[in-house]
Symmetry: D2
Subunit: 328 residues, 4 copies
């Protein structure tokens, strides 16, 4: 290879997720292992435009594997959507003699990477970091397993008070346009009903199902609602609708919110991040670009960034069926 990679930059971009620090650590340590220099870029593409860089050595990432958030901070950058912004970014990379970039983020961040690579032929590797699990080419995104457990544990707590008072709770969880968190955290928490964008249950059927649950002797219930649910009603309107139609229920709403983005990553997310970081650096060193590292069938694989962005990420229909059986 003519152009051996000598200096790699790593950054986190878009919404943060647990495991991003573990991935940063892995990228930095893998660089150290291959005696490749490593630079951290603060605040994603915006920091790249502003030249907000920091040299990173193995010691820079001591004691961060277990930390939520991202020590490199994250941001969304409108300026990077302009050619002028990307030009500034490129100049900063050149100035620092950086010859490869690892972007930890979601599809918006990958799109930026693809455009940048097209314009400047600059090697870019993506690591999927988002709690929403909505990236094609990987069965798990970084932070997803942690967010599932955070959401589920919060619902466990809500269950305590719901069953003490024979109440019906509508609990909204995150997930953007996808129902992964809702479906898995819902099954894990033993929810009586789960509303996800991928399946339009219909308000009538939900009501029927809740009435059946009530008749079967259940005195409390949890309905988990994905934030992207397509029922046409938000979680408060859903609660109101049920309260009107089932006055026997005492209905409450809880929106779990941003706590789902934080917290110490689970073992799964830390290990996944470690594996992905190694692969990302090795791909750059091998002269590869425009790839996303992913997990498929428990193995680390790669997917074209283009496909990762455009691909459709399907929910497991078998799990929907399991959920139906569990709540019968």
């Amino acid at each position: 290879m003519g152009n051996k990679i000598k200096k790699i930059a790593v950054m986190t971009s878009g919404g943060d997720s647990p495991g991003m620090n573990s991935a940063i650590r892995s990228v930095v340590r893998t660089c150290a292992y291959y005696r490749t220099e490593c630079v951290g870029i603060y605040r994603g593409y915006q920091g790249m435009i502003e030249g907000d860089f920091i040299t990173m050595t193995a010691r820079s990432v001591n004691n961060i594997i277990h930390k939520g958030g991202t020590i490199l901070k994250s941001a969304r950058s409108k300026e990077f959507m302009t050619p002028e912004g990307r030009k500034k970014a490129y100049e900063h990379l050149k100035e620092h003699k950086i010859d490869g970039l690892v972007v930890i983020g979601g599809d918006g961040s990958f799109t930026g990477g693809v455009v940048f690579n097209n314009e400047y032929n600059f090697p870019v590797i993506g690591i999927p970091g988002t709690i929403d699990n909505d990236i094609y080419g990987t069965s798990h995104t970084l932070g997803y397993d942690t967010a599932l457990n955070t959401a589920m544990e919060a619902i466990d707590k809500i269950r305590d008070t719901a069953s003490s008072h024979n109440r019906l709770f509508f609990v909204e969880v995150m997930g953007r346009d996808a129902g992964f968190i809702a479906l898995n955290a819902g099954v894990g928490a033993g929810a009586e009903e789960i509303l996800i964008p991928e399946e339009d249950l219909g308000l009538e059927r939900m009501l029927e199902s809740l009435k059946k649950s009530k008749r079967s002797g259940k005195s409390s219930s949890i309905v988990v609602v994905a934030e992207g649910d397509k029922s046409g009603k938000n979680v408060y309107q859903l609660a109101e609708y049920v309260e009107e139609n089932m006055p026997e229920y005492d209905v409450r709403v809880s929106v779990l919110g941003h706590m789902q983005r934080g917290g110490s990553p689970t073992c799964f997310d830390r290990v996944l991040a470690s594996r992905m970081g190694v692969k990302a650096v090795e791909l750059l060193i091998d002269g590869k670009s425009n790839l996303m590292v992913g997990l498929q069938n428990d193995k680390i694989t790669t997917t074209d960034l283009d496909n990762a962005i455009k691909g459709q990420c399907d929910i497991d229909m078998e799990l929907l069926r399991v959920s139906d059986i569990m709540t019968t």
Copy 2:
């Protein structure tokens, strides 16, 4: 004593809180220790009116000390506010030959107990169970310590994402009309600002304080808001107000909600519940009534139920001062 206590009833009433099960267990086991029979009443005063009773032995309460919620369920009863309702309740107690009652709940539940005692001269002992810590005559109510940790750990998670994105979060915590949870969880989570009903900071001063914090180099901030805050604005309006006046901040809101009522009780709450349950039963056996068991200066004490209901429960002004110093 002419009327030796032979059978004691225990119930949970009003909003549930972690530690109620530990207290039920303690009451039941203490009864067993003193060879006094014990009966559990489901759903508080409403269950008393309906005669929804269950015999409890030491084995009935195996493996519940660590469980959130209440195995006896809880409820609010409008019917018990009527003389007819209380008459029915009294008849059920007599029918089951119960001669003493332990009520685990908050001031509303104690008021019911006092009225009932006045009418029927029926021995009643209260155990303060509420996450809000707003009961006079005890430094800690059951569930308060657990709720503090639940709220604080949620804020810790929010801090992860706040500092990754340089955001300002308004986090609403529970506490009814009192600021105990907000003040303590806020100090524990290192909040930049804490808004509680006991102190009217004024929107201007809050803004000033946030601006100062920004100037001092802090890029993210957490403002903890008690649900009973008296600023005249709810947490969403507060966020909007700050966003308008400090456009440099990216503001978000999180309402922690009912998860604060659930979860496995902390060691403090389990031990406190065990101590209070013993004392409650021993007071009844000693022929006492109309008292609330409390913790004062780390000792188990008693307070007249009347005083517990009417007394003013003050927030620790020294801690407010500590909070101010911490966020300077």
Copy 3:
């Protein structure tokens, strides 16, 4: 099918693991869904021999999905290893008109199932429940993900005190003869060294590695040791050996022990248990036997029980390599 399955028994056997209750719940609810009767057997094969059975309905398993341990209890049975024991067991099953059995346990439990099936042609389906992850035919056993997180979080805590005091800790984790827990929890916790049965590092190399780590400026270190490690020394002897050879280190030992078997299951384990329970019941209803339900490539699959017992379960060599890179 001539012999339609009308009544299914479920039991837990061998060492308990988190998620067993979630699997029991799933089996019971799936039976209810298919209008098949369901019976729980206490204490595994021993309870089967003693006829310790209980009828289970959907309500029997309310509120257990999140509980550690097993409500059906578990045991090892020597009597079941004898033809007489198995005869008694068979007679109890016939007496209760049970025509299918779901065994949740490890390879010892499956061996019992295979022998029993051979003798009595009784339909048996296995669900792999053990924290050790040492079962062929599934990428994950029930309880493994939970145990990983329990071990890792304990090591996180040990790390706090290790780095405060510049100490070297040897931490022994469970896993029987396999290194799955040690390798994954070790990578997740950022351990400096991981000793597993599958790789004989040699004491010399471990020492070399620790010295290198010390030279590189690390002042504290964690060595994770699998209980089945083949170095010929137990964890205390290892510590002594290092202390003698590296007097500059202050060495401590921690054996995590049985807490790794308990605790509320993670979302992953609860969802996996729900999926496996559905499949197990559907296999019996479909007239299948002698199969273990497993997870392979994220899909629910089946493996002959014979193969599950005999098959070799390999550790992920890529992860070993990742571990080496992380600790360089």
Copy 4:
């Protein structure tokens, strides 16, 4: 006051405990509030001897309130026990123009402070930081509440597996020569028996008690043993003794070990640390010395360091009685 305090040093010494970082943060921020300079000393007295100092500003302690361990590290120093060692230490303090010292640690650390103060008339204030709660003059030491919860949660997990297998567990918890952790975590975890140094139960009585528990239908049991227990047998010998005398029990041992020293501090410990740090700095500024800050009757108080060292710290006998009643 002639000698206004202008620069304060803070250090952590002896065994580390959760909350030490929260206390460091509080000392540093309180100094900032009073426009007093602040210096951190690494590794306690040893770092003082070696001049291992670091300037600390409010920003140095951002985002540490929730962290276990101590960012200033801790150590025990033999050299400080010699006049030569203390002389070196004093010279470093003078060289840096430090005029007051806050020592966060246990009685050994306070003894060092008293000796140092006697020799050099150097103002010293102590903050009690140890998980053992064995310091006179405070109802709670920093880290104690966290350690209680860590120990209790571990025992909760052990309970899961104990009751699945009808086993008897001996669980050793920390506490040096005191039974605070054992008694409170034991009561909190619902232990069947608690062995502490303050009460010599006698092996016979323990056996009797376990037999009674067995007869009453309990199939599993947890015995919590303080590391300083005075039965003359360690936890393994106790287990063996019971196994010999009660062959019907399947006995296991778990030593919780150093994980009890780590972990993120509870809300109680973080708030206590914040309050104590403020008080310690204010005492120095007020010209006070040789005092320990403590919590008594929920108020921040002071005690002569001499008394704190010599005073006897008694266990709550009422709680022992509660424990007996709970396990009857």
